[in-house]
Symmetry: C2
Subunit: 482 residues, 2 copies
């Protein structure tokens, strides 16, 4: 075989990219899944079902979340417009009306739209932001994207002016950020979230990280905040957000606010507040990119690939560059754009589709909140595990106390301790989680991230408990603790 | 405003990216479009409709191509699966059966799929390739993407190992290639297509380009071939393809074959042959990446963002890296993946949907072929224009002979001559084409690219003729020629 396309001849930054959420564990889980599918009775595995807990993919088979009827009905009509007439009896009147309105604005969803997204949908996004924050938003500052990830990756690519450009990222973080930094040859500058204080963000720690990085010659360019947190589930207070803006002002930073979990709030006492709102309230000049997505929240429409970002305090010339870069990729998928429209314009009281929409979304909110609470509480009660409660998002990030014998066994197997733990968990229970090292953690610590999306929470937590107790016993945890 | 996000502080390679297909002309055309929409009677423009001829976007409003019924019916059922029962009387039986089959394999199209694409759909792509070429294809070598562009951009990013890595691109070329090279900091190495010989590809010219680039210290890494050609419409002969493979073998190059127009063939005497087939027939070891898309051909489903690439003669370790990079973006849009399935598994004779599908696709094929022929012939007959006939794709790339006075007027206006011409064309007729400089051309030449997708070909070519005659007269072309 020719050597022209061998790994050693490729872009070295590609080799450096790491993305554990879909890493070796996920690949092994897929193998188990197809083994079970091929031979449901003779697969030889100690479980009959692989439980996907590695990725926030609410509509995946075996998980709990169904698509919202309203958005899917509209999508079906736009896919096949003759149904607006022939299927009149099968769809609610407000759905047909909405589909006709969108069709008049978009035309065929098989055509490219403007690279920035359909103007009408951007107007609706701007109205949604205005209503949410109480401050206006301009449709020309809204850029529709193929999920939030595509936008994050582009903005990071644009910000990295040289190999010494650094971007502050929380630890633990969603690994898209380190992956994008590796791909585009920038420097990740870690700041640490405080596990002992509900995974809170400490502006002082960010200041220290800036000082250290600057001292090492890194040009600190931007700050990433994930709120609600992934993988932590923490929700920021407004006062912290104000402090964060002051840090950005002091150091001339761009703020990248990953707010894709803004509607996954489990505790009314800790509401979501957008960075746009806090910024406008204090009249801050900080350039802000705020990301949102249809993949999370109660829509959970990951497969459509829809999302948007809003640019705030960004010069017109930079907006033109963003537009140009998006235009090379032509446009975000129209199915995702229509999904964004449904996200920002759900049915309202009085409309035909409202009661069903309310029932479906209430059920999703309460199921996720209750599952998150149950799993966190019972994990925290286990020997060798501590788990911070999560008031937001759809994950938990429990810490493991690993017995020395387990650490030794991991070393023998050639794995990091937390990777060893999650591999054992997968092999014995079929539950696919992600080791904490994929998100970052303090030296010597071990965590794992798991989603709280699985149907049948009793069976799920039961399996986790049984596994942890047996792991703990097998590697002498009881003795170690004694 | 903060300077943190000003253009001068950004990644300089972003500033270098150019993509004329959606450049200033397209932006001005959008402005005209919304001016007409806002005030249909008092817009003050010398035309009542903007004609999009800048981009291969067959389903755009005002153009001729309708979506294929079969694929849209399946898509509607997957968007809203209850329709498979409630809408039984509204859909053909084979459509419902196909939708049920896909639903059983995919589940909700709102869930992420495998990052490489749904396994079942990749199997169907592999069968399609096998049938097309007579050589087997392995589903594990197929990677579904959000249109061909996403795949091209990723592969180019991976191939550029250092700033001295170069990739051979045809001139004229689809500007995605130069844009991706600029973004990822590689060297574009031009080789010239021969306009006087039907825009043919000359392997000798590629050899010369390699020698010249190597002499300048560029590491020549890959060769891009677009077949059928964009913007030229040329179709490669097998013998030329064999010679191209020999060039790749001699210089250890990766071959990137952009084959997205493979079903847009207007002349049965010049059929499409895939590089995979020629490669297998000669048992060549050249690493090949072959791109295909649902945006072109008779599907024309640009807005879904669907496509795939096949890796041939590529090491397993490199495939794993490709998988990893795709996984950071999670997965291609499911709507696009379903579109790929319909592309590679159209209805066959005997199936209920076949007659309609055949009627629709025949009409698209023959309309495009006839429009392309009419426009090319009449453009070529105009004073100051010569136009090579296009046996494939959906564009023409006529050459302009510009009078000195026009070149002077362009200079005064601060534009390249071909840009000046297309701006005048837009301002006077509403037709939005793209100047040849956006695709590359020989020094001192002037071309423009226009699509052959417009409904009402007589009116369209009539406008072009009137404009060219008046332009030619205004700038003294008659005198120049005399």
């Amino acid at each position: 075989m020719s050597t022209a396309f061998s790994p050693s001849s490729l872009n070295p930054s590609v080799l450096n990219v790491q993305y554990a959420v879909r890493g070796p564990l996920a690949i092994r889980a897929e193998e188990y899944r197809s083994r079970i599918k091929k031979d449901p009775h003779g697969h030889g595995l100690p479980f009959d079902q692989v439980v996907t807990a590695n990725i926030g993919n609410p509509q995946q088979a075996g998980l709990d979340q169904k698509p919202l009827t309203f958005g899917r009905q509209i999508a079906a009509l736009l896919e096949y417009p003759p149904l607006m007439d022939s299927g009149k009896s099968l769809f609610p009147p407000d759905v047909i009306q909405r589909a006709r309105e969108l069709y008049a604005e978009i035309g065929s969803i098989g055509a490219y739209s403007q690279s920035q997204g359909v103007p009408f949908i951007r107007q609706n996004v701007a109205k949604f932001i205005h209503t949410r924050d109480g401050y206006p938003s301009n449709p020309s500052d809204i850029f529709l994207t193929a999920g939030a990830s595509a936008g994050v990756s582009l903005i990071i690519n644009m910000l990295i002016a040289s190999p010494s450009t650094g971007i502050l990222i929380p630890i633990p973080q969603y690994p898209l950020y380190t992956a994008a930094l590796a791909q585009h040859k920038g420097v990740p500058i870690p700041y640490y979230l405080d596990e002992s204080n509900g995974w809170s963000t400490d502006p002082q720690d960010i200041e220290m990280a800036i000082a250290k990085a600057s001292g090492q010659g890194t040009q600190v360019k931007a700050l990433v905040i994930i709120n609600p947190g992934n993988p932590t589930g923490a929700v920021l207070r407004s006062s912290t957000m104000q402090d964060v803006l002051r840090v950005c002002e002091r150091h001339n930073l761009v703020l990248l606010a990953d707010e894709v979990y803004q509607s996954n709030i489990h505790d009314p006492a800790q509401p979501f507040v957008s960075f746009k709102k806090v910024l406008r309230a204090s009249n801050s000049p900080v350039p802000l990119v705020s990301f949102h997505s249809i993949s999370k929240g109660v829509t959970g429409e990951c497969g459509r690939r829809g999302g948007y970002f809003e640019l705030v305090n960004v010069p017109e010339e930079t907006k033109a560059l963003v537009y140009k870069m998006l235009s090379v990729g032509l446009c975000p998928p129209l199915g995702g754009q229509v999904g964004v429209d449904c996200l920002v314009r759900p049915p309202i009281p009085g409309e035909y589709s409202y009661p069903l929409w309310k029932e479906e979304t209430d059920a999703i909110h309460s199921a996720l909140a209750s599952r998150t609470h149950i799993i966190a509480t019972r994990l925290d009660a286990l020997p060798g595990v501590s788990c911070v409660a999560a008031p937001g998002a759809m994950y938990l990030f429990p810490q493991l106390q690993l017995p020395d014998a387990a650490i030794e066994a991991a070393k023998v197997a050639g794995h990091e301790p937390d990777e060893f733990y999650t591999l054992e968990l997968l092999d014995q229970t079929g539950i696919c989680a992600v080791p904490g090292s994929g998100f970052g953690q303090k030296e010597g610590e071990a965590h794992f991230r798991l989603t709280c999306l699985s149907a049948g929470v009793e069976e799920y937590i039961g399996k986790l408990e049984t596994f942890q107790r047996s792991f703990w016993k097998k590697y002498g945890g009881e003795l170690a603790k004694a």
